[in-house]
Amino acid sequence: MHFTVDREQFVQHVQNVNKAVSSRTTIPILTGIKIIAAADGVTLTGSDSDISIETFIPAEENDNQYVQVQEQGSIVLQARFFAEIVKKLPGEEIEVVVQDQFATTIRSGSVVFNLNGLDPEEYPRLPKLDDTNMFHLPQSLLKDMIRQTVFAVSAQETRPVLTGVNLESENGELICTATDSHRLALRKANLEAGSDAPDLSNIVIPGKSLNELSRLLSDDDSTVEIIITETQVMFRFPHLLFYSRLLDGKYPVTKNMIPSETKTGVELSTKELLQSLDRALLLSRETKNNVINLKTLGDGRVEINSVSSEIGKVTENIDCDKIDGEELRISFNGKNITDALKVIDSEKIHIQFTGAMSPFVVRPTDHDQMLHLFSPVRTY
């Protein structure tokens, strides 16, 4: 293998793939970055086996020449040293040459590094791209969908499948669900007309992977392609592929958990409720149970209160836009509610209660693409 590459381009791409490399891997070869030089450019791969990032530096793009490949080939180089080295090289260009036994020379300006490489054949093979289960979304929308669901995944490993966000599709809609069995966040999106509606069910992407992915997503409408394979999901950006392994196991069926009837309905300002709960949590946080009590008052207000046996008590009344149905007293984990309120961008919400011991639903009033479901806390 022998190629020369634009230093600035190379440094940036190496840094991108290096994000996926972990020093705490049990697979020795994954401490390295894989480099493939082909006629059309250079491909770099980094992986911690849970997520993998692959980037491509084209030989030529927009009349710029980035890479000159003298001899095709591949190598794996220790990420820790390699990433540091390329950053500190002095020249405009970097020359990489692999000789026998994976011995690699990196040259830039008057500097020469000789590194011992690893056998690229031993690097794991990432799944082949397959267009059958492919669709695309605007990056900003995907970013929102992740932000509005991933907070609700379970932090406990006892039911691993709940540590991920579930993807499914139905009638041209993409549905993301996350739940830790006490609360559930659901976000829908219409798949753009024209894109082949994929048939998805039980695709569970680890929350951790989505948080990583989120950092790569831009806030504009440029699209990202999503490709699902049997064992991994891929997100394709221009010149960058993000892979995540999928969680194994059956995701719970959540559709029938969402109640249809309403016993008490409350409509109020998202921000006011959030601020009120934040204040009440100041006390209940102390006892680590985050329990908040809510009761409807007859006069179009709800009372929020919280009691801590050590510290004291807080009570606050909030004006609501609308309260209908039965009187209600209910207790819940206030932290779970504020987590959800923080990702609701709408000004007003509607809360659908179905009794003091039954789940309740929070929805924005201005669209039906999102809902949050909570189970109450029983007090006795």
Partner: protein, 328 residues
């Protein structure tokens, strides 16, 4: 080590595994039990290679990318667990379990190999147990141990136990000779010893064995000619070198090998431990009848027995030297 070489070393084990793999009747968990050097780890690797080898023939090639990745620990679907420090800890088993909550990175089958499985802490073993009970995806677990009895009963009952024969002396000799600072002479002796004592390093062990061997040569020379010198050597050197019961037992074994060599010489056999002493051995062999050599072997075995019964080391050795001199 290749499949064929292992088949020669452990014919029973290998043909058993071969049969179950050919018939697709592989258990989901195995316990490989056998002495150090018996080839448990190699066999586990061969089994894994057999599943992933691209050649897809009856015997893994050991050369292809998949086989090499397994040998080097680079295969994402073949995982190893070994003691960190003195034991295998719960966190390690949990790491392994976490790996299994994902769909395979490349393939559907996942294999994990636990070395020194008896060194799992109780909580690690309990965590593993749950996992052995309900593997969610196709899994092969191979637990390696020198003594399966040290594993939880509940683990033993969930796995198929495969007993490895002790390694052949030739294989042990080869393994010892690969060690740091261990020469041909030391390796030859170590391979024949039933127990190898602990030393701070492999080189120190080899050094100790070689010195002990020199003492055996000196003692056997003296005992047949100048008993008082032999008694002096016993006092000055032997008892200091073989300083406790376990070491003295090894000293007696080494002495035993020397007299066994006398018999080998008499029978014209090539199996000689003290191969560089052949001239001396031949000279001494002329002086003793077969019965006289056997009587001395018995005296050494009797001394070993008395040693186990807590006899005083010095008295026991003095008594033995006199018997070796007189041959009765």
């Amino acid at each position: 080590m290749s499949w064929e070489a292992m088949l020669e070393e452990q014919p029973t084990v290998m043909s058993l595994l071969e049969r179950s793999m050919n018939k697709d009747r592989v258990a989901h968990a195995y316990i490989f039990e056998g002495k150090a050097g018996a080839g448990k780890r190699e066999t586990a690797l061969l089994m894994a290679q057999r599943f992933f080898c691209v050649e897809n023939s009856a015997v893994p090639c050991g050369e292809c990318r998949e086989c090499r990745r397994i040998t080097h620990g680079n295969h994402s679907e073949v995982m190893f667990l070994q003691p960190e420090g003195a034991s295998i800890k719960k966190a390690q088993v949990e790491m392994l379990q976490k790996e299994f909550t994902y769909k395979g990175m490349e393939a559907r089958l996942k294999i994990y190999i636990i070395e020194d499985a008896d060194r799992m802490t109780a909580s690690a073993a309990n965590s593993l147990l749950k996992f052995l009970e309900e593997p969610e995806s196709p899994t092969l677990a191979i637990l390696l141990t020198e003594n399966a009895h040290f594993l939880l009963d509940t683990i033993q009952s969930r796995a198929q136990k495969i007993s490895f024969s002790p390694p052949s002396i030739e294989r042990r000799r080869r393994l010892f000779q690969e060690r740091e600072g261990t020469g041909e002479i030391a390796a030859g002796l170590l391979a024949k010893l039933p127990h190898v004592p602990e030393r701070e390093s492999e080189a120190a062990l080899a050094e100790w064995i070689v010195q002990g061997r020199n003492l055996v040569i000196q003692l056997t020379e003296e005992v047949h000619q100048r008993l008082h010198s032999a008694l002096l050597t016993l006092q000055d050197k032997w008892l200091g070198h073989f300083s406790d019961r376990e070491e003295l037992d090894i000293g007696l074994d080494m002495l035993l090998f020397w007299y066994r060599d006398l018999l080998s010489i008499t029978y014209g056999s090539d199996d000689i431990t003290y191969f560089d002493q052949k001239a001396t051995l031949e000279r001494v062999a002329l002086r003793f009848s077969e019965m006289e050599v056997v009587a001395r072997l018995q005296a050494i075995l009797e001394a070993k027995r008395r040693l186990r019964a807590n006899a005083n080391a010095q008295l026991l050795m003095e008594h033995l030297l006199i018997q070796l001199q007189e041959g009765s």
